[in-house]
Amino acid sequence: MNLRSSGTQPVRLEQDVVLARQTARKLATECGMRLIDQTKLVTAVSELARNTVVYGGGGDMDWQVLEDIGRVGLRLSFRDQGPGIPDVRLALTDGWTSGGGLGLGLTGARRLVDEFDLQTAPGEGTCVTITRWT
């Protein structure tokens, strides 16, 4: 697997969620992703970037365009230094929310991508990484 390009951008304010979506859309288009796959990825990015701002107190989004045999992938990580998630299993339950939302953000995002990884510990922040392949 080869790394074609990569970058980082801040996800601190509400407006940064919109910018994260726009970056993801641009990269997904450049990867030659189908419209439906683009839409799923951008929606997952929106959910995760919002979590970074609302629950993580802000952080960063790292992106990587990957090349594998016969396919191209877009991998995005959402990192924050926030309070972390005390109960990961609970956080990955549909409909459960620690805030005022619907509890679809994390679980929904997981359903919309090919690969999903969650690293977190109480007091040590959260990092969610998603990948979608063409």
């Binding site: 439906i36 929606t43 619907l102 679809l104 929904g108």
Partner: protein, 120 residues
């Protein structure tokens, strides 16, 4: 403050969302619509999202809230123009927008709105 315009056409209110909305903008729209329904005694609200290339759980929830609040203010809401890729993604996300009336385009949406207003 940034606002999404609400147009009035007789007893109907029309909203066309054409920008990539941040969360506060979505919340503003919710409040503005409630205020406009009250002020104009509108009987129907048509929301056109044909320009939106993404609807996440936050926007989905806003649409559900607008539909619910207009109902308790004696107005009907019809959501029109959802792109197929957005519809597929929303369902996969787990949002089926229960209680929200939809139509494929503005013309059918207006027809549906008129029918519903006449019946109510």
């Amino acid at each position: 403050m940034e606002r999404i315009p609400i147009l009035q056409m007789g007893e109907y209110l029309l909203v066309t969302i054409q920008v990539d909305m941040h969360d506060q903008l979505a919340l503003n729209l919710q409040e503005d619509l409630a205020e406009r329904i009250s002020r104009t005694s509108a009987k129907g609200v048509l929301i056109d999202i044909s320009a939106l290339d993404m609807v996440d759980s936050f926007i989905g929830r806003m649409i559900g809230t607008i539909s619910g609040l207009s109902r308790i203010m004696d107005a009907q809401t019809v959501l029109v123009g959802m792109q197929p890729s957005v519809a597929i993604t929303l369902v996969e996300l787990g949002m089926t927008l229960p209680g929200v009336s939809t139509a494929l385009n503005v013309e059918r949406g207006m027809q549906k709105l008129r029918d519903r207003v006449e019946r109510s």
